[in-house]
Amino acid sequence: MNGSSLFWIIVFALAALLFFGTAIVITAVGIRDLKDLLRKSETKKQSST
């Protein structure tokens, strides 16, 4: 394996780590955001009817 190939494989590893790591965080926080969105929307719809 030459130096250039090694460089791109390291880039791949870092990119994959960052993607899956961020995905875990977004999933965890996103569940809370989703509940919040639906709760607010329910309240707003009830108040407008």
């Binding site: 030459n2 090694l6 880039v11 990119a15 994959a16 960052l18 999933t27 996103g30």
Partner: protein
């Protein structure tokens, strides 16, 4: 056949759940803003998940995998390039924060605020045409992926395409952005898991050393250096860098997600966090493509090499999960695109052409009808159209058709006081010219004289579109300042009631 009973069970459970949740979310739509931008109440993490889900589809996996198969590691540069564009927007709020502050729903709405109603109409038509053409190849690529990965022959391609489309149209048409956001979130989780499964099994079957050897053996220096790779080169790298910085915030389906954010700051952060994941989103499927090269050698159809690899290395059970993940990716992309282009057609083409203002109910009805018509169009288009160049380049060039002009109008309109309506017309027309010329001339390239062949170079065409759009705006505006004085943007009140 790769797909077994357990895979089918997983897939049907997932599809059923998607339809159920998408239709269930319909009950939260209270008005037009609810339908098109989820009431602008989306927070950062949810917005980021839905933006990422929009931007990842089977079509992106396919064209990125294809690039990995035909260019090796050289295409990995595109992942780093995309990160630059997103991080610039995410750090500065370039375009997205200003558009969110103006509370527009579509990009051409800005044209009317800054220029005039006719610019909005022209911009709307170009955005719609370019967007729908851009979307035209999605379904075909999806069908190819599914038939290769699941192990069916091409005969079932049409049936697979129709089923996928029906599911997406059903919940997008009914629930608008609420259904899109809720299903996007679920699809983001499933697609991330699908990507993880595919990557782990690929690495289990093909070693990193085998992949690196295959790349250097087949492509030499061109496999690791994008500048010397004949498919890329300097023209392509400059065009794609300009495009990623200038227009990442002007892709209507993605921008809508930022416009649905709870405030301009959240809209900016959505791009920042989505940008952090962008290298992975690009490079992981490219890596699968390079792994397909190592496993099968260079003789395969480049488009189908990557899904064939995944179908071969991922075992039953996990294959169902992975295909569900890939379908999730596509469904979230379709739903966002259908909603975005139908909202542009309704609000920026039908609206300005109507003698009386459309009420909310009629606007939503038109949007639902147009979403369905777009679905039918992409099915027919996907079946007969042969893609010129690589799929990535086709998507980039049709994207440039509307994005180049939009870049000229929005970036200059926001940040250059002298921008006027004549500049906007010139920018839109010139920005669309080079990509349109490419798409038309490519069909007759064998009969073109030698001197015109540069017009069918996809990279030159893409680069020219941005250059001409900017030139059109600057020259058009400067030459007509007296006859068409610029219209300054009116300050708007933000959520706290402050003028901005």
């Amino acid at each position: 056949m790769n797909f077994q009973t357990l895979d089918w069970v997983i897939l049907f459970l997932y599809l059923g759940l998607s339809v159920f949740i998408g239709v269930w979310a319909k009950k939260y739509v209270e008005n037009m803003e609810g339908y098109f931008v989820a009431g602008r109440r989306v927070k950062v993490a949810l917005g980021t998940a839905t933006l990422i889900a929009t931007e990842i589809g089977i079509v992106t996996f396919m064209y990125l995998g294809e690039l990995g198969y035909v260019t090796g590691f050289a295409c990995f540069w595109l992942g780093l390039n995309g990160v630059i564009g997103y991080l610039v927007i995410g750090k500065t709020g370039f375009i997205v924060s200003a558009l969110r502050r103006l509370k527009v729903i579509t990009i051409p709405e800005f044209y009317e605020l800054r220029f005039d109603k006719r610019v909005r109409l022209l911009g709307g038509i170009l955005l719609f045409l370019g967007g729908v053409l851009n979307m035209g190849v999605f379904l075909k690529m999806d069908g190819l992926f599914l038939t290769e990965a699941m192990g069916f022959g091409p005969d079932v391609l049409t049936a697979v395409m129709i089923v996928m489309l029906l599911i997406v149209i059903s919940y997008t048409v009914l629930g608008g952005m609420f259904s899109v956001v809720v299903t996007d979130f679920m699809q983001f989780v499933v697609l991330s898991f699908g990507m993880l499964v595919a990557t782990i099994f690929t690495l289990g079957h093909v070693s990193l050393i085998d992949i690196a050897t295959a790349v250097t053996t087949n492509f030499g220096d061109a496999g690791v250096n994008p500048i010397v790779n004949p498919r890329f080169g300097w023209t392509f790298l400059i065009w794609i860098l300009v495009a990623s910085v200038g227009t990442s915030a002007l892709n209507q389906p993605a921008t809508t997600k930022s416009l649905a954010s709870e405030n301009p700051e959240a809209g900016r952060k959505v791009f920042l966090f989505a940008g952090i994941t962008l290298a992975g989103r690009y490079i992981i499927p490219m890596f699968w493509g390079a792994a397909a090269l190592a496993m099968f050698g260079p003789g395969l159809n480049p488009t189908t090499a990557m899904p064939r690899l995944l179908g071969a290395v991922v075992p039953s059970g996990f294959l169902g999960l992975m295909v569900a993940g890939m379908l999730a990716a596509s469904m979230s992309t379709y739903s966002a695109y259908l909603l975005a282009w139908s909202s542009v057609a309704t609000r920026d083409i039908i609206g300005p052409l109507s003698k009386k203002e459309l009420n909310e109910k009629t606007t939503i009805l038109f949007s639902r009808i147009i979403s369905t018509l777009i679905g039918i169009f992409i099915l027919v288009f996907g079946l007969w159209y042969e893609i010129p160049a690589t799929a990535f380049q086709y998507i980039a060039i049709t994207g440039a058709m509307y994005a180049a002009g939009a870049f000229g109008c929005v970036a200059f309109g926001l940040y250059w006081k002298k921008a006027n309506a004549v500049g906007a017309y010139s920018s839109l027309a010139l920005g669309a010219f080079a990509p349109l010329a490419f798409l038309v001339l490519d069909q007759i390239k064998n009969s073109l004289p030698q001197g015109m062949l540069w017009l069918v170079d996809v990279n030159i065409s893409g680069f020219l579109s941005f250059f001409l759009a900017a030139l059109g705006m600057v020259l058009g505006s400067l030459l007509t300042q007296k006859s068409h004085p610029p219209i300054p943007l009116q300050p708007t009140k933000d959520e706290e009631g402050n003028r901005s």
